[in-house]
Symmetry: none
Subunit: 416 residues, 2 copies
């Protein structure tokens, strides 16, 4: 089955926004075994969108449109799709109620007349509720073709796609595609790929495809079969082999589980409490941990100690350490981690101190130098990293490596 993506939005044509929706949807379509040959981006222009949609419908079975479902005059995806499919736009009572409800709960925003535009739906279309915004998703089915319209903001599109559209697309398929993910941390893409080159070359069904993420490698094992049971049977020995080869580098085989979730799970299982002590990442590590619902059982407080004074005052880093070795040093990282445990009576503390740039680097301590330490059971482990990239990238890599070190240290002590 052939699917095609159309991204709608003048902000994409002006380069204001990077189209992350396209790569997200493309990856999910690949996971579903759908053939995706074209992605097109067009602006908020009726005629050009109409023409693009016509071309896409002629050559593909499913067309996914993203964006242009907002309340303003220049949002016209729905209007174009309705015209192309010969449908009238009618007010959907259910959606109108949801919009009213949304605004009643929001004290910031007030309903304006143009908001009701979002309650207009092409006649006979399937309405997909939006739990994170006011624009519902819309599916029009006609002559064995489907047009799927999704809201543009990724925080609305992603949950809607995962909750509703993924299953919808899978059901359209004649042959079942089933895939499982094996998520690795603490290993690079090239190394991982080399370790399974024989498996990648040998296999045609299931296939193994590696995806590099920041500090992680995801291996997607995908099988085609008549039914899910048969596909699972094909996948099982491959996943087993991957687990055997990568051992503790495997942190999850769950599609939705993040590295921070895996770490929180490990902490919860071992009834451990954690503190964070961050310098250059300034709260990013804590923020990622707090992404996980139920984190409060194991993570109760964290510190951002950006200045030397705060490292001393809050985490009891010694003045002499800062003077002799500097704030970005193995010794400071160690003392930060130890200080975090003692300040809060937690079981563990992970600390990060480094030079995220663009300024502050020297010959001896260049931008990208980061020390990460973990204190557990009176023992402190520290690692030195040299990250590449800009400020944001260095900080992001630091956070992933801190989670990875945290995981390693817990596994080291508790081995479960």
């Amino acid at each position: 089955m052939v699917v095609e993506l159309i991204s709608v939005g003048t902000e994409l044509l002006l380069g204001n926004t990077v189209n992350t929706n396209a790569s997200f949807l493309a990856e999910k379509c690949a996971a579903l075994g759908l053939s995706l040959y074209y992605q097109t981006t067009v602006g908020d222009n009726f005629n050009r969108l109409e023409e693009t949609l016509q071309v896409a419908l002629n050559r593909s079975d499913v067309v996914i449109l993203t964006g242009g479902l907002g309340p303003t005059q220049d949002d016209l995806t729905k209007e174009v799709a309705a015209k192309v499919m010969g449908k009238a736009l009618v007010e959907d009572t259910h959606t109108k109620e949801r919009i009213t409800e949304y605004f009643n709960k929001s004290q910031v925003k007030t309903i304006t007349e143009n908001n009701w535009k979002q309650a207009l739906i092409p006649e006979g279309a399937i309405v997909v509720d939006n739990n994170n915004g006011t624009a519902p998703g819309i599916i029009i089915e006609e002559n064995n073709k489907s047009i799927i319209m999704l809201p543009g903001p990724p925080n609305e599109l992603i949950p809607m796609f995962m909750e509703e559209i993924y299953g919808y697309l899978n059901k359209l398929q004649p042959e079942i595609i089933y895939s499982q993910i094996v998520k690795l941390c603490g290993i690079g893409e090239s190394t991982a790929e080399t370790m399974i080159q024989d498996l990648i070359s040998e296999q045609s069904n299931p296939t193994i495809a590696p995806y590099a993420k920041v500090g992680e490698v995801h291996l997607r094992v995908t099988a085609k079969a008549r039914d899910e049971e048969e596909a699972k049977k094909l996948i099982k020995p491959v996943v087993k082999e991957l687990k055997a080869r990568f051992g503790n580098n495997v942190f999850s085989t769950d599609e939705n589980e993040t590295l921070e979730e895996a770490v929180i799970k490990l902490l919860t299982k071992n009834e451990l409490t954690l503190t964070t002590a961050e310098s250059c990442t300034g709260g990013m590590l804590a923020a990622r941990l707090v992404n996980v619902p139920g984190v409060s059982e194991v993570f109760r407080q964290g510190f951002i100690t950006y200045s030397n004074k705060s490292k001393r005052k809050i985490l009891s880093v010694q003045k002499s350490t800062l003077k002799k070795f500097g704030a970005v040093s193995e010794k400071t990282a160690k003392e930060m981690a130890k200080g975090g445990v003692f300040a809060t009576d937690s079981d563990l503390c992970v600390s990060i101190t480094g030079i995220a740039g663009p300024d502050g680097g020297t010959e001896e301590k260049p931008v990208g130098l980061v020390y990460i330490a973990c204190y557990i059971n009176d023992k402190v482990t520290v690692k030195e990293f040299h990250f590449k990239g800009n400020r944001a990238k260095i900080r992001e890599q630091s956070v992933v490596r801190a989670l990875t070190l945290l995981r390693e240290c817990i596994l080291d002590v508790y081995n479960k």
Copy 2:
């Protein structure tokens, strides 16, 4: 003049790579005043690429292709372009020399037979040297149309574009586009649009286009003119009018300035130091502030007080407050902000406490209820919010609203 982008690469269709080249090129084309109506992504497939290029050439003056210039068999952008333009591929001595030179300088790589494929150029084409790789850029000019082929890796494409292609495109142009942004916070998109509906309807040059971001609205004012000076003249009164209508809601008119940068600038200007005290956002606010280089002058430490105990111990929130009003209350938010100032001797503290969900909500205190307080000059301001969406969205909105409140409180006291 109309330009069109074609991104070539199966990795884009599989979602392995986010297409940042498209947004980079789109932004530059907008800055050059080129009209960009379509961006298309196709895989490494001869027929589909040929068809896509034909369609693009029929409707646009300039077609920029990225990717598919590598040495392997599946790289075929050049081959397709040569066929479409009826040109033979001939070996370019200059490029062959450069490739040899490149490999001589590289200790890692050795020349293989397929590398010479990169020295083949369509007859009569302009060769653009690649200072960061082996694939040269290629320009084919014919019948007032230009095909520009650029290498896919951003670290090769970006310098080549800025050094050679930007100037090339500028010379093709009879007329320029110039745009300016007006960034708003503390106001919703619909409200903002309603407030300037008359301006939007009236104007054709310059145009005003609103973009909704989380907690922000960006208004882009764009003018077409013979030169930059004239375009600026057209834009000036419109920007002035927008500033007058939105007053303190305008936090920046700088293309690259973020809300956190505007806030840090305000703190720096008034020589104020800031502390953060976060509960449900768990470090996200601090992480956003620390995104700004040079933040260390005004932001030295922050606290993540997720548990009641840490709120008491670190921020001196009263036991009776937590007992009587709960952790998510106006009073707790106020005491957190006050406690943050006193714990660190800062001038300001902004605090966030709320229910980000999915669990923890009650009838009285539903998911999405967030209190944000700001303490400055012995005065504490607190606001109650009811945010919609999932955990991530509630937290993201909380952070933007905290930055907005912080900004309001500083402006209130210092009015500059």
